[in-house]
Amino acid sequence: MSTITTADAGLAAKPATSAMRIRLRSYRRAAVSILLAAAIYEALARAGMFAPALLPTIPTILRTLFSMLADGTMVWHASYTLYRVLFGFGLAMTLGIPLGILMARFRRVENFFLPLVSALMPIPSFSLLPLFLLWFGIGNMTTILIVFYASTFPILFNTWSGVRSVNPLWLRAAGAMGADEHKMFWKVIIPGASPFIITGMRQGFLRSWIAVIGAEMIAASQWGLGWVIFDSKEFLSTDIMLASVAVIGFIGFVFERVVFGALERATVQRWGMVRIAKG
């Protein structure tokens, strides 16, 4: 049996250049463009048009980064930030997932919460910052609450959508095979809604990461990646700023690919349920 279907042959057949060579060319170009961008930056930094404090050279940034890693300050900052994120995100999950499930299963609950949620959603978490500052002062509480507020909505919404869209056929089949409410819930509804729930978690984490940086700039007192960036402004320490930005990007990347990627691979990808849309 031919491996190429008529449809494939008709539309997709491209002569000569193999897929491998095209990919290698992509990598080459990626490397070129990154190096080019770095080179342009470096040239600008050394050109002397701007004060060296405003536009540090790449070696300077790297040196600052390594020294901050070595003496532990960067690690401290990152830990404080991560602590706030994970705490806030954890709270959001504890509220968002159960509430989403309840909203999807019980009309009454949905009727009560949906208008509230819809009204609160368009309010950016950052706009509540002054209010929280007033109520809770500067410190961890405020930051964590902002993170919590920011990440609850994606988690809640996605969970609610996910449970609502669990294929009724699965429920009927399970019911016919004797599943009671409890088993139905854990063995059919939760796995069935998992692509949505995971998407919600992913989006929620992204929001919390963004929220924590912003909140730390104003509401943190001493440690934290957001705080150190803001604080460095006073001393024109752009090298610290850029080093911290790099760390922020790196951690975000690690979470996105490694943590959520692994979660997806272990569950929805393995089951062939991946949703294509990514936020």
Binding site: I4, A9, K14, P15, A16
Partner: protein
């Protein structure tokens, strides 16, 4: 002079598992206003060959002459109808779709719309001129696609299994409609299908292709008067003959 000449056309392409010969030394000719069917099992290269004639693929060897001139790339002298109904532009009404080729040719709006309406009348969809494709059924969308391909008067109409995705009843209706359209417009048509009965119903001549590599095995002229009766003895005889010709090809493909 024959209108279309396919001379020693071959196509080789790369796949992850090596080089595959899609089509090898395909040869046939066509007169103007002929209805030719390319028939064969999956993988015999009939769609590939059609795409080469349409100009979307370049052959690795051989050439194709239309009206004595070699083709290169696609052109307004060949109209195409694909199998997928999604070929219509969803952002244009049926009329808008049909008028597209005319728009590209620079025909002024009033004339375009008139010609487009004529084409829609030909396929019996004039009432749906202002509907968007997603409001039309699969059969209706294919009719619009046919009208679209005919509107700007190409010399040749190329059709790639246009009715394969429709249900059997609709398909029968569409075949009858196509036969009527052909009779009225006298276009030269090359029609690809894997459905033998469809080929016997529509074609003046059937070119049988076999896979591995895709080659023209034989040609069978259909000498039946139209309109053809799919249940008559002669019709079934032709079907049997074609199935026989395909028979070896089918077992090689499986």
């Amino acid at each position: 002079m024959p209108q279309i000449e396919v001379k020693d056309v071959s196509l080789v392409y790369d796949t992850p598992s090596g080089q595959v010969q899609g089509v090898k030394d395909a040869n046939f000719t066509m007169e103007a206003s002929e209805f030719l069917c390319l028939v064969g099992p999956s993988g015999c290269g009939k769609s590939t060959l059609l795409n080469i004639i349409a100009g979307f693929l370049a052959p690795t060897a051989g050439e194709i002459l239309i009206g004595g001139k070699a083709i290169s790339g696609h052109g307004l002298d060949r109209g195409v109808v694909f199998q997928d109904f999604a070929q219509l532009f969803p952002w244009r009404t049926a009329l808008g779709n049909v008028a597209f080729g005319l728009e590209m040719k620079g025909v002024p709006k009033q004339e375009r719309d008139e010609i487009a309406m004529q084409q829609l009348r030909l396929v019996k969809l004039e009432r749906f001129a202002n509907s968007y494709p997603h409001h039309l059924s699969g059969g209706m969308q294919q009719r619009v696609a046919i009208a679209r391909a005919l509107a700007y008067n190409p010399a040749v109409l190329l059709m790639d299994e246009p009715f394969a995705a429709l249900d059997a009843l609709t398909r029968d209706d569409m075949q009858r409609l196509l036969a009527d359209v052909w009779r009225e417009t006298r276009k030269t048509i090359i029609y690809v299908t894997h459905n033998v009965a469809e080929a016997v119903y529509l074609a003046d001549r059937v070119v049988v292709m076999t896979p591995h590599p895709g080659t023209v095995k034989t040609e069978v002229p259909i000498a039946l008067k139209r309109p053809r009766d799919p249940l008559s003895h002669e019709f079934l005889d032709y079907q049997k003959q074609l199935l026989q010709d395909l028979g070896e090809g089918v077992s090689k493909a499986a």
